[in-house]
Subunit: 338 residues, 2 copies
């Protein structure tokens, strides 16, 4: 039995001009929406992740406390649960799945929040990585609804370097002849595993590997054990076209690139009135703190708070670094109390 | 007509126990060996590079001045000029080419220097990237011959993170079915180009891409123009098995992993009596300064001198960053004067 619900978006016209017919937004909630409908938090998913992979921050006593808040996790389009290449009927299936932007995601999520739940104001939006990208969008597109945001290890616009890292991972996946330009009938295993291996160097820091945290902190028996067990394991079960659909969303992520801000990224950042704490990780190789520092300059109410860590991109990520997650949780509590 | 010479090594037994039959060491020299034979510099090549791609530092008036010094550039095994998968006769050709270590390279280079040229002492050994790996080996294996070393943007041992980055590039190349486990009859173009795309994110820094140095400093018209023109261009003409042979040499690079030091990397570093300046680049993503700082602790006569730059690994590299090359050249002059 599925542990999530589906919000039917109907025929959903995307920024690219194509229609996602019978579009579906999969979501899961935690806690109870109060009578005033003013205790809701939106917590979008990260690249390739699904709602179950967002749960490491949700727990009674933690900032995202289901005893106090109504926490909504909307699944990103392309992640295999919301409308995706792998679950959309022909002729819009597989490599014909249309390009979806972060804007498309967040407008759909807004419909879920307002039409389905009747919520008019949120307490907080927060997210990791591509979840952070969506978090920024919420702040810019719905400033009246969003008083607080905490994007962590992510950015409001995909940097050129981040774009290049993703080009490498994409090229590795597509080099596999079994990928067949997306028309595979069985998974392109070699390409999916190469994708994971390319990712392995980016996801964690030089220091992580130097101190052998894969062995001492994550319990793997050798580097190769980690590369197969963790990195190939993270991606080989995902659908290749799903991965590429979300990768397109990521590479084209830009808070300004939508009908509201017409390409003006700085104006979009300036529109975020929410009290914001931006939490990059000091050693993140694709979301370096400098990118958030530059963003904060355009935001009226943002604080840059760098997590000093050797965990790289995985600092506040899914449950791997207890110290960094404690730092993040404390910042979330501080923000929620303000 | 070839612009280089060949030193015949005969049947050269490698560390792995296989024999490189009729092994060839391709080299090029600049300047004139003086009568005392005491003005020679050894300057090994970098990953995938050939001697012509080492020339950016050699010029009258520069530190590597052919009017003063006799500069020897030995080509690394696997680079297509010295013995390599692509130029070795069957049955040792292609994917059957034996594994060659940095130790194997430097012992062969030592034979060239002593047997062919009759040189008993060198002025300096220097090199970039994998050239730096060989530079460290020269210092440790022949301390009586080597009074000065300047390894730049490289290390004495391949770090685990560096190993992982290379695993990603390798997996991308090998994901191409046309690679055929090394038995390709025409180049695996998709894999070679994916290899270049994976490399693109690593070779330069986040800041390089943020400030669009690909456009403003390197003259490309767009990011895609740079990815194809520079990065795919750097690798698609190389032989895939050659690339993988050198990649093995790199991944297994360890100054201590040879019959002399029997696995004791610190002892090998301690054996380097040469006055050494280690010059990492502040933003190098796979040879971060920290790795050199740790090495310097074990070296009796080493100074760590970080080049502050946004050029990443390409700081002192082949001719792209005039400022950093000037910094490097000044350090080489200082070292040569000492």
């Amino acid at each position: 039995m599925a542990d999530y619900e589906i919000f039917e978006l109907g025929d959903y016209v995307l920024q690219c001009g194509k229609t996602l017919r019978k579009a579906k937004l999969a979501f899961k909630t935690f806690g109870t929406l109060n009578a005033a409908k003013d205790n809701a938090i939106v917590y979008p998913t990260w690249y390739s992740g699904q709602h179950t992979e967002n749960e490491w921050l949700i727990e009674p006593g933690k900032a995202l406390d289901p005893d106090k808040y109504f926490i909504i996790i909307p699944n990103m389009f392309g992640n295999g649960l919301s409308s995706s290449p792998s679950n959309t009927p022909a002729p819009w299936d597989g490599p014909r799945f249309p390009n979806v932007t972060a804007y498309d995601n967040v407008v759909a999520q807004h419909r879920l929040v307002t039409e389905h739940f009747g919520i008019e104001t949120l307490v907080l939006v927060t997210g990791w990585s591509m979840g952070a990208l969506q978090t920024y969008h919420w702040g810019a597109l719905y400033p009246d609804m969003v008083p607080r945001i905490l994007p962590f290890q992510g950015s409001a616009k995909c940097s050129r370097h981040n774009f290049v890292f993703l080009e490498g991972a994409k090229a590795a996946l597509q080099a596999d002849a079994a990928f067949a330009e997306g028309w595979y009938t069985s998974p392109p295993n070699k390409g999916l595993r190469a994708f994971g291996r390319v990712y392995a160097g980016w996801g964690l820091s030089q220091t992580f590997y130097r101190i052998e945290a894969d062995l001492t902190h994550m319990g793997y028996a050798s580097l190769e054990d980690f590369l197969v067990g963790f990195w190939e394991g993270l991606f080989y079960t995902r659908d290749a076209n799903d991965l590429l659909a979300m990768l397109w969303t990521w590479q084209n992520g830009d808070i300004g690139a939508n009908p509201v801000f017409k390409g003006d990224t700085k104006a979009a950042l300036a529109a975020i009135r929410a009290k914001a704490i931006l939490m990059p990780a000091s050693t993140d190789l694709y979301f370096p703190p400098e990118d958030n520092r530059i963003e904060a300059e355009s935001m009226p109410n943002a604080e840059l708070r760098v997590i000093e860590t050797w965990w790289g991109h995985f600092a506040g990520g899914p449950g791997t670094s207890p110290d960094d997650i404690a730092t993040l949780d404390a910042a979330l509590k501080e923000l929620l109390a303000s």
